[in-house]
């Protein structure tokens, strides 16, 4: 099986209590492998959900945090659905993500979070530009037959429903704004978007940054309160 030259990890040196406070029940993992069998990302880089849970149970923080795999996880939650011990694997992945230094968060995700903290949206799009874009889209809708009097409500006080917006819909995919808006119009819904805290894509959620998540959610709630709106549609 192994000769003395094979690298081995000293069990005594592992900090088995490191993740004891995590509430995801990972300590009762049976290593049955159902999660690994259903995971669409299993095998990439030689990892799967079961292996990550095992590393966490053993307290092997640095290996888990350094691995690319927790960031490849799509959060589809099939693993959690099948797990016979009800282990919250997606949130465990997120917990591992949260342990990385922010400079090591992959790609543009953390830069987007920083932009959102500064400006309220991941693109750093100024409010005037945002309003210009959405009103432009509204005009295009109004040009279609049957939608002649369409207007996009912005910051409408006392509306019944407030909707957030994915940043790509005011960047590269503005056409996709129209689907929801036409439905609201046809249904006679009393709705609005907001010029502040319009961003619905919370990358603090993706990157395990709870503080950022809280801030963004807090801003949306503030908008709801200041506009006296009771219902929120947050499609993210």
């Amino acid at each position: 099986m192994n000769d003395n030259s094979e690298y081995s990890i000293d069990l005594k040196a592992l900090n088995r209590e490191r993740f004891q406070s995590w509430p995801y029940s990972q300590d009762v993992c049976l290593t049955c492998g159902l999660c690994a069998s259903v995971c669409p990302a299993a095998g990439i880089d030689g990892y799967d959900p079961r292996k990550i849970v095992r590393l966490v149970t053993l307290g092997m923080e640095s290996e888990a945090v350094a691995a690319r795999w927790p960031w490849i996880c799509t959060m589809c939650a099939k693993c959690e659905y099948l797990c016979p011990m009800d282990i919250d694997i997606p949130n465990l992945m997120r917990g591992i993500r949260s342990l990385r230094k922010r400079e090591q968060v992959p790609g543009i995700l953390h830069k987007g979070v920083e932009a959102a903290m500064r400006t309220g949206n991941n693109l750093g799009l100024p409010t005037d530009d945002f309003v210009f874009i959405v009103e432009d889209v509204a005009e295009e809708i109004a040009a279609e037959p049957g939608f002649e009097d369409f207007k996009v409500p912005i910051d409408k006080h006392g509306a019944r429903l407030m909707a957030t917006i994915h940043n790509k819909l005011v960047n590269t995919h503005t056409e996709d704004l129209k689907h929801w808006w036409k439905i609201f119009y046809a249904a006679g819904e009393d709705w609005t978007i907001t010029s502040k805290a319009w961003e619905g894509t919370s990358w603090g959620f993706f990157t395990g940054d709870d503080a950022a998540m809280k801030t963004m959610a807090g801003r949306i709630v503030e908008q709801l309160e200041s506009l006296d709106i009771k219902n929120l549609m947050w499609p993210e």
Binding site: N2, K12, D27, R50
Partner: protein, 520 residues
Amino acid sequence: MNDSCLIFGGGPCALETARRLVSAGLAVVVAAPDAPLDGPRQEFAALAAEGSIDVLTPARIDACRGFIGSFEVDLAIDGARHHRRVSHILVAEEYRRRPNFDDYPQLSPANLLPLSAGASKAQMFPEAPVMPQIVLLHGLKQESHPVIAEEVLRCALALQASEKARCCVLTTNLKVAGNGIEALYREAKAAGVLFFKFDRSRPEIHPLPTGKAEIVFRDDVSGNVYRLAPDLFLVDEAILPAENLENLATVLGLETDPAGFLQTENVHRLPVFTNRRGILALGPSRAILAAADMSAEAAAGALAVLGGPLPEPAARIEKARIDTGRCIRCLTCFRLCPHGAIQRNQRVEVSADACEGCGICAAECPRQAIRLGKNGFGLESPADAAGHDKPRTAEPLLIAFCCARSAGRAAEHAAELGLEIPSDLKTVTVPCAGAVSTADILSAFRLGARGVIVMACHAGNCHSEWGQRHALQRVEQLTRHFEQMGFDAERLAFQTLAANMETGFVDVIRRFDSKVRSMV
């Protein structure tokens, strides 16, 4: 008749059994091999206040004659011979536990303790290190058992929770099929016990120059190799039958399982019954059971003595009877009886109370001096063989000797379900396949059968322990004779079945039927 019992054993199960029988008004004799008894002697003696109890120790059994209702037992106590006459014998001797130290020769006694050394850190470590690292080795070289798994889990949990130890359990299979063991496993994990399971690889243990030892192993789940030099290794134990059981089994004529417990792995051996009526194997003498089950065993034993619904009443069985005029006292029947129902007195006699009606003796008696109930199985004439109201036809005639407990039941179920069976099949139901003698098979052919099949219970599941084996041997012997004679040996077949295999029965018969039809 059911007024006195002999109990072998001195532990909790024997004590509980004694208490129940004494309270029911029976005279109880307790014979334990060791002095003092495992359970406190006072507890047994205290039963004297409730009824008649006689405690003999250190006692060894020398001989046992007789049958249920009148066993004559000779005991040796401190060299002196004692005789007792009892209606029932109950064996409830406690386990022997053997630590599996031999599996780990690399470990010196300084490093390891057996599991039952307890879960107290103070006991284990005179100079206790803070948060000692402990490795529990469980079922690595041989299959484990839920009873041991439970002990391992309790020990690990106790050490982890109350003694602040760092425990790792290394195992191949963790057998959790027992009351509350899964919950215990979960609790142990939540308390921080680490479990490592091995499929193909096994841990390796290397002695260290310091006198301690290091264990190195691969964890397939994380893909890493780990090493650990723990402060202590705890080794699991094998649970074995008491030393005394081998002698008891021989003297009492009891069949044992491969481990030496007094009940075979036979579907017909319900708890607490053995192959001999009136002799019961309880708890630690019967199988590996959890401590929580022992009191149920004592209750079952007491119930069997006091007249519960089991076993099948002796009165309903067709008994063997020896024609003393023909008997030549060869003692073949005495040697063969799996139920110890034959006695060598002035005459060789079958006890009606102990006979289970298997017919093995009748089939083997060289003088055909033994009959089971009425004559034969009704194969006296061609008309009988063909069925009373059916004339012999040109179609092959099959005769199937069916053991009542397996093929017989399957045939009945097949008929109830309306399954189609070849029309010229005659089934002859026998109490056990062992009752079908060579002469019976030859008679069947002589009466015109074109094919004869003997159907028995599966090996290891014969109610009479080896009746199935006898039947098979006879068929094999006849097959060899047929081959030498130039008679088509494929006309004789043997098949094992279970009672719930009605479609299996039909399949076997159909295939045999078409094979026989294809012969000239």
